[in-house]
């Protein structure tokens, strides 16, 4: 025992006087092991605690606190009580002792045996004795650990209010707001201090804070704003104080104050009930109306409208007592009183703002929508007769808002409101559809859509009439925006009323597509095809619409109707769209797998066998664009429609390509000796069909097995490495890669031999097949990169070494772009490929050093390849990663700006632009180099380079003023020239950049 106490004394001595921090751990261990108790430790500390040196006393307390942090669990209630009393007493001591005391208290609050009343007394002492400003930093921990404080109630709130009064440090404020938020959210009794708590927090509203440059704490204005908003909007108890404050601040001239007030209003009413709002409704309305009527910016306007919507929906939500008046009605009466008459005024002064306000109120709830619609509708209908164009547009706008809301049938259906107006509504919409004004027609189509979505509102005869109108517009309307709106409307209506469209529109479109042969009507045919695609969401419609599209392909092939290549492509796009949007049912699955895909393959094969043909006219289905448009039709069906049927399709496709099995193809009059994957001289017309095979087998869900995999892979490799037709060997390489990507780990041994073959081909400089070998390699590399396969590194090394290659160097540099970007037709998530998250970042972090090394070692004439590769990689990284990684690569990127390759310039500029928004110090040091390289690019021959460089120059003007001011005169001179650029888009950028540079260092500017 004596030995123990001697040991304890020496530990204390070494910690306090010897300043050996590690002794705290040893002491704690001793206490935990039961060698000595905490009280013994306190006794042993006696001497240090009574020292005349505050620092020695602090050190003593610190030892105790650290020990307590380790072993608060073993304390008894009595011990805790004594220790708390001791610590509270220490709070009155010298300020250097405060931090360890707080540390100790913090440890004690974690005790399970905290004596009743102790949390309260701790807080009292804290509020009383701790005069260092951020005392509530420490409240936070007390607060989290105790539920007892609730009992302290108003006293605690008062203590908190006192402690945060006058706080200015943003870090502390953030914490203080956090505590205040907790006080409110945990339902503390605010008692008579409600107003005090509100005052002490709301005095910061609206937050006016600009973080200092290079702020290490990186507290943003937005954080403070959000946190304060959470406090102020947190409880209805604040309503009577907050609402007048908001009304007052809305009067401010400062835009950010207005915006913050509106957003706070939107946030707070979500908690409020109508009685909280009642007495302020008029004031709020006056302010909101003013903000929208005299809008100062679009942001304010939309914030004001959002606030009105929130306010209205709060009022709609409230439960009414029998004796309270309906405040929603009262409020909407105000709104209607001020807005309705503007709708009818001939001078149109405030028509738009009024309409927007009404729309905003309408969209809040069904009841609001009901009240406003029934009040406004009759006068709007009456207005329609006056035929002023603006009125009509406006009315349509209001209608749109009303109807949109009511398409969410929750409480009661709004159709009843509309029912009374149905005939006049329909006649209005239909007559608007016949107007010549494009925007009116567009609005009318969207109103028509929302009316149709009201269950039971429109009669069958109305729908038929609507179909007639839409048909007429489809066939005659030249304006692109209108056609788009019409097509969209057709899509929406066909989903709800398929029968009318099957019966009327599809036959009409079919006739139109087949009949209109003249070139001038191409546009009509394309519109018809996109309308067919838009309406095909219901299986019944798909059954009728897809044959029309297939017929286009077939007549284009036979030449019976003169379709252009673009039209054939458009037909494929429509089929693709249908495959993407249609419901995945057995019926549609059969339609695609049993009818459409065999038909496509059959037509393509017929065209391929016919080849160039003796007659000299070749089928459009031989064109690369057409085949490439067929691929997504097949791949979308195989990836998303009916996996079982997709498996059967794969089986048939593989046997067609490997064995020449044509039995499943319609119009079967094919020769028996077909070998699509076999080389037959230079017959590219057959070999290029491999892209269709790719569309099929590479997009299957991973659960679906691809038959005859090994044979397929070896034939694909053969074709990819030896064929001379670019589309054929590239498609074969992609197909190979797509299969490899999904193959099970154990079955990938064949890659080794593939790599050997490719590498030896690449190493023989005289080979005529190097490009093929390279293409094969890059696609396999991509397949492996996406799934993090270890063999990938070998391919990367090969790729890096090719950057120095005389012939393939530039191609290798472009290859990095292929590796980093998503390919649309294969190896993407839509095709169920194995794509690991963040593979780009991983690739970048593993290889950026190699690239820099290679660049430094490369001979001068090869350096552009490295720069191009680098900018290809960096350009595809997410912006967040770019911003953190770029400072290290800065000198290389600046180098890249002076590289003559425009692609490199462009992608480097687009990497730099986001970095310039928040420039790293390294960049500011290189300002001379940056500006010196950017300015010449403003006269590049490529307009995109000119635009991007001007944007960068614009961003540079926002750097710290003292850094960029020296460049002002030079930049202004240089920017005079792009003001006279021949491209408007360039001039717009130049004007903006130059305006900013003019403001730099000028009074009233920056």
């Amino acid at each position: 025992m004596a030995a123990d106490s001697a040991l304890l004394l020496s530990l204390v001595e070494e910690y306090v006087s010897g300043l050996q921090d590690s002794k705290a751990k040893d002491t704690a261990k001793g206490v935990k092991d039961g060698q000595f108790t905490v009280l013994q430790l306190v006794e042993a500390l006696g001497l240090s605690l009574t020292s005349s040196q505050p620092h020695t006393r602090a050190r003593g307390v610190q030892l105790l606190s650290e020990v307590l942090q380790e072993c608060y669990g073993g304390l008894t209630e009595r011990e805790v009580e004594v220790l708390i009393a001791f610590y509270e007493n220490r709070l009155k001591d010298h300020y250097v002792i405060t931090p360890p005391v707080l540390q100790g208290l913090r440890a004690l609050t974690k005790c399970t045996v905290l004596p009743p009343g102790s949390a309260v007394s701790m807080l009292r002492s804290l509020f009383q004795d701790v005069h260092v400003q951020p005392s509530y930093r420490n409240c936070v921990f007390l607060f989290d650990s105790s539920t007892e404080l609730k009992g302290l109630g108003a006293d605690f709130v008062f203590g908190f209010v006192q402690s945060m009064d006058g706080e200015r440090d943003p870090r502390n404020l953030l914490l203080a707001f956090q505590v205040a938020k907790n006080i409110i959210h945990r339902g503390y009794d605010l008692g008579k201090f409600t107003e005090e708590l509100f005052e002490v927090t709301s005095c910061y509203f609206p937050i006016n804070f600009t973080p200092p440059p290079n702020d290490p704490h990186s507290i943003t204005r937005e954080e403070l704003v959000q946190m304060l908003r959470d406090v102020l909007a947190g409880t209805p108890q604040f309503a009577e104080f907050l609402l007048p404050l908001i009304i007052e601040k809305l009067d401010s001239d400062v835009l950010s104050a207005k915006l913050d007030s509106l957003q706070t209003l939107t946030a707070c009413v979500s908690q409020y009930e109508h009685k909280d709002l009642a007495e302020f409704l008029e004031g709020l309305w006056v302010s909101l109306r003013r903000e929208v009527f005299q809008t100062s910016s679009e942001k304010i306007e939309s914030a004001g409208l959002a606030a009105l919507t929130a306010l209205t929906s709060c009022l709609s939500r409230s439960v009414l007592n029998s004796d309270s008046e309906d405040s929603l009605c009262t409020f909407l009466d105000l709104v209607l009183k001020d807005c309705r008459h503007h709708l009818c005024e001939p001078d149109l002064k405030l028509v738009w703002p009024s309409a927007k306000l009404l729309q905003a109120a309408c969209s809040a709830s069904s009841r609001a929508s009901h009240i406003i619609t029934s009040a406004v509708m009759p006068s709007l209908i009456e207005q329609y007769n006056s035929k002023t164009e603006v009125n009509v547009r406006l009315m349509m706008g209001v209608l749109k808002a009303c109807t949109i809301k009511s398409t969410q049938p929750k409480d009661f259906n709004l159709s009843s409101v509309f029912l009374a107006f149905r005939p006049s509504l329909c006649s209005m919409v239909f007559s608007a559809l016949t107007e010549t004004n494009a925007s009116l027609q567009i609005t009318a189509t969207s109103v028509l859509t929302s009316l149709a979505q009201q269950t039971g509102l429109l009669l069958d005869s109305d729908i038929e009439l609507a179909v007639d109108h839409l048909t007429r517009l489809l066939l005659t309307e030249e304006d692109n925006r209108v056609s788009l709106a019409v097509v969209e409307c057709v899509g929406a209506l066909a989903e709800l009323h398929p029968a009318a469209f099957i019966a009327k529109l599809i036959p009409r479109l079919k006739k139109e597509i087949e009949a209109s042969e003249q070139q001038s009507l191409q546009a009509v045919r394309q519109r018809c095809m996109s309308a067919l695609a838009a309406m095909s969401t219901q299986p019944g419609v798909v059954q009728e619409s897809t044959p029309v599209l297939l017929e286009v392909l077939s007549s284009a092939h036979t030449g019976s109707v003169g379709f252009s290549v673009e039209e054939v492509v458009a037909a494929c796009h429509s089929l693709q769209r249908i495959a993407e949007q249609v419901q995945d049912t057995e019926e549609t699955g059969r339609c695609f797998h049993d009818v459409i895909i065999p038909r496509l393959l059959s037509l393509a094969l017929q065209a391929a066998l016919q080849g160039e043909g003796s007659s000299g006219c070749r089928s459009p289905l031989l064109e690369e664009v057409v085949l490439s448009a067929m691929v997504p039709v097949i791949s979308t069906s195989c990836s998303r429609l009916q996996p079982t049927l997709a498996g059967q399709t794969a089986l048939k496709a593989v046997s067609l390509f490997l064995d020449g099995d044509v039995s499943f193809l319609p119009d079967n009059s094919f020769p028996s000796h077909i070998g699509l994957l076999k080389q037959q001289g230079d017959s590219w017309s057959q070999s290029q069909m491999v892209c269709l095979l790719m569309g099929c087998v590479c997009s299957l869900p991973r659960s679906v097995e691809v038959p005859q995999m090994d044979q397929l892979l070896s034939q694909l490799e053969e074709m990819s490495c030896t064929c001379s037709h670019p589309l054929s060997y590239t498609s074969a390489a992609k197909c190979f890669a797509g299969l490899v990507n999904k193959r099970a780990q154990g079955q990938l041994v064949l890659i080794q031999s593939t790599m050997k073959r490719v590498c030896s081909e690449l190493d023989s400089a005289s080979s005529s097949l190097r490009i093929q070998a390279f293409t094969h390699m890059i696609w396999v590399a991509k397949a492996l990169l996406l799934r993090y396969h270890p063999l990938f590194t070998a391919l990367t090394d090969k790729l890096f070494s090719l950057l120095d290659d005389a012939d393939l160097g530039p191609m290798a540099a472009d290859g990095f772009s292929l590796l980093m970007s998503d390919s649309p037709d294969v190896l993407n998530r839509g095709c169920h490929a194995d794509v690991r998250i963040m593979y780009r970042q991983r690739f970048f972090s593993e290889n950026s050093a190699k690239l820099v090394q290679g660049f430094n070692a490369a001979p001068q004439e090869k350096k552009p390849n490295y720069l191009k590769a680098l900018s290809n990689i960096v350009n595809k990284l997410p912006k967040q990663v770019q911003v953190t990684e770029l400072p290290a690569l800065l000198s290389l990127l600046l180098e890249a700006l002076s590289c003559p390759d425009r692609g490199v310039q462009l992608s480097t500029l687009s990497c730099l632009e986001p970095v310039l928004v928040d420039p790293p110090p390294a960049l500011i040091q290189q300002l001379e180099a940056l500006v010196g390289r950017l300015l010449p690019l403003t006269s590049s021959p490529s307009m995109n380079v000119r635009i991007a460089s001007l944007r960068c120059i614009h961003a540079v003007s926002l750097f710290p003023v003292h850094e960029v001011l020296p460049f002002r005169a030079r930049v202004l001179r240089a920017l005079a020239r792009p003001l006279d650029d021949k491209k408007r888009l360039v001039r717009i950028e130049a004007v903006q950049a130059r305006a900013e540079w003019f403001l730099l260092g000028s009074p009233g500017g920056r």
Binding site: D253, Q294, S297, G1004
Partner: protein, 166 residues
């Protein structure tokens, strides 16, 4: 610049026209295929000048377009002849800010257009009491230059020309 003498630059004065008529914004210019075509020369046209002039009105925190101070029909530009003519309409006939608005328009165009352009800014005939005096001031190169030497005046102009950050 007699006209500027009476204006309180601090912005603390009551607004003369607290409830202006607001017109609908004309919306973004739509991109056409030729805009993206490297080889096509896009001449500077009325709409482009009009878009450049979507600047702040010192009296109202609204763009000049919304207040109809500048309308597209009152912008006349000829790229070939290198001339620009702007007619602007002060919000009310006695608006004392007319010269300032005119000056802001002029400065904005000087900064945004190539040197070769001759810029003429004047008040729409019949919309302002002291139309002639204001037009004369705006047409006088030296007086414009002198006005921009005046730093408090330049400050107000620059404020009008700042793109609002909100």
């Amino acid at each position: 610049w007699v006209t500027f003498g009476g204006v309180n630059m601090s912005g603390g004065t009551r607004l003369e026209n607290a409830n202006p008529v607001i017109f609908q914004r004309s919306g973004e210019r739509l991109l056409t295929a030729t805009d993206e075509d490297e080889d096509v020369h896009d001449p500077i046209d009325d709409r482009e000048i009009f878009d450049i002039l979507s600047i702040n009105d010192p009296e109202h925190p609204l763009s000049l377009e919304e207040l109809n101070v500048v309308e597209q029909v009152r912008v006349k530009v000829s790229d070939a002849e290198s001339t620009v003519g702007i007619e602007f309409t002060p919000t009310i006939p006695h608006c004392s800010m007319a010269t300032l608005i005119g000056l802001s328009i002029k400065v904005k165009l000087l900064r945004s257009l190539p040197d070769r352009f001759k810029i003429d800014v004047h008040i729409t005939p019949g919309t302002h009491a002291s139309e002639e005096a204001v037009n004369k001031q705006l047409a006088d190169k030296e007086r414009v230059a002198a006005a921009l030497e005046n730093s408090s005046l330049l400050e107000v102009v620059n404020q009008c020309l700042s793109t609002r950050s909100i």
